[in-house]
């Protein structure tokens, strides 16, 4: 059902009005809690508070790229239009998050490690992730025909998934300056609950905001691709209720 552009448009119209405020409130709540109310760290003092944006942004960038890879696979193999739309909608916010991860990581590294940047496996592969995002966006802008552009970008998106795996496991496979993961999917996390909850909340908030951004961009793309259809023509002359 979500494969139909028209259905997607109506569906997202009903989701965005409540998802947007929930995302913003969750993110702000997590950040205010983390910045102002969570206790300081026994070793790092207050510089550790960068974690509340660094970890959500990094995990969002990685998850976004996995989603981009899946959209790429569907776009290349099944040639589904919505997958092509998603390929275009997922990339920009992911690129922003990857950039945030690198910048906040550098600003956290200086006071704790003593350096903004080292070419260790984690940081280098994260930089490659940003380039991958930029590559996917650039391919879509350079190739005129949207369907061909989607196929090329889809292939690059799939190839880049290998790099996502390297980012994730680099800290376990080779010696890096960067420490291991704080939040573990399995097993106990090594972060005190008073710091873990604000982290989880800001993470959820940023992920939801990512979803909002993707829905907004996908709607624009759907509208443009379906511009010759009757339902878009009707929408343009008579905006639906609650829209500008």
């Amino acid at each position: 059902m979500l494969g139909s552009p028209r259905y997607f448009y109506t569906f997202s119209s009903s989701v965005l009005p409540w998802l947007t405020p929930i995302a913003l409130v969750t993110l702000l709540a997590g950040l205010v809690w983390g910045l102002g109310f969570a206790p300081s760290d026994y070793q790092q003092g207050n510089s550790y508070r960068i974690i509340f944006i660094h970890v959500p942004a990094s995990s969002g960038a990685l998850m976004g790229y996995m989603a981009l890879g899946v959209a790429g696979l569907v776009a290349v193999v099944w040639r589904m239009k919505m997958a092509e739309v998603m390929l275009k909608a997922i990339a920009p916010f992911g690129a922003a998050l990857a950039a945030i991860s690198l910048v906040t990581g550098a600003l956290w590294g200086k006071p704790t490690w003593g350096t903004y940047w080292q070419w260790d496996a984690r940081m280098t592969s994260m930089l490659i992730l940003l380039f991958m995002y930029v590559g996917v966006i650039a391919l879509q802008n350079v190739i005129r025909d949207p369907r061909q552009a989607a196929r090329a970008a889809g292939l690059l998106a799939m190839v880049g998934v290998i790099n996502v795996i390297i980012v994730k496991y680099s800290v376990e496979w080779v010696q890096t300056l960067h420490q291991g993961s704080t939040l573990k999917l399995f097993g106990e996390s090594t972060i005190n609950p008073a710091m873990k909850y604000p982290l989880l909340i800001s993470m959820l908030g940023l992920w939801l905001l990512y979803a909002v951004n993707v829905l907004m961009r996908a709607r624009t793309e759907v509208m443009w691709r379906e511009r010759r259809s009757k339902w878009v023509a009707k929408l343009v002359t008579r905006p639906e209720k609650g829209e500008q």
Partner: protein, 67 residues
């Protein structure tokens, strides 16, 4: 509150520069991406509305020239 005063909060120990520039740059990038997404939607809508109006005008002109 984990801090004694608002000044303490801004100082973040002695790491205020790092913490606040990290959050400042993050806020800028997130807000920029949201604004661009919103603006793109408006632009496409406007372009389509303009095209449609022109098509309707053309149709009217054609009708008049036929009579």
């Amino acid at each position: 509150m984990a801090f004694e005063s608002f000044a303490d909060f801004l100082a973040m120990g002695k790491h205020g520069f790092y913490v606040w520039s990290a959050y400042g740059i993050s806020a800028f990038l997130i807000i920029a991406s949201m604004v661009l997404a919103l603006r793109g939607q408006g632009q496409v809508r406007q372009t389509l509305a303009r095209q449609q109006r022109r098509a309707e005008l053309d149709a009217e002109v054609n009708d008049e020239s036929r009579t």
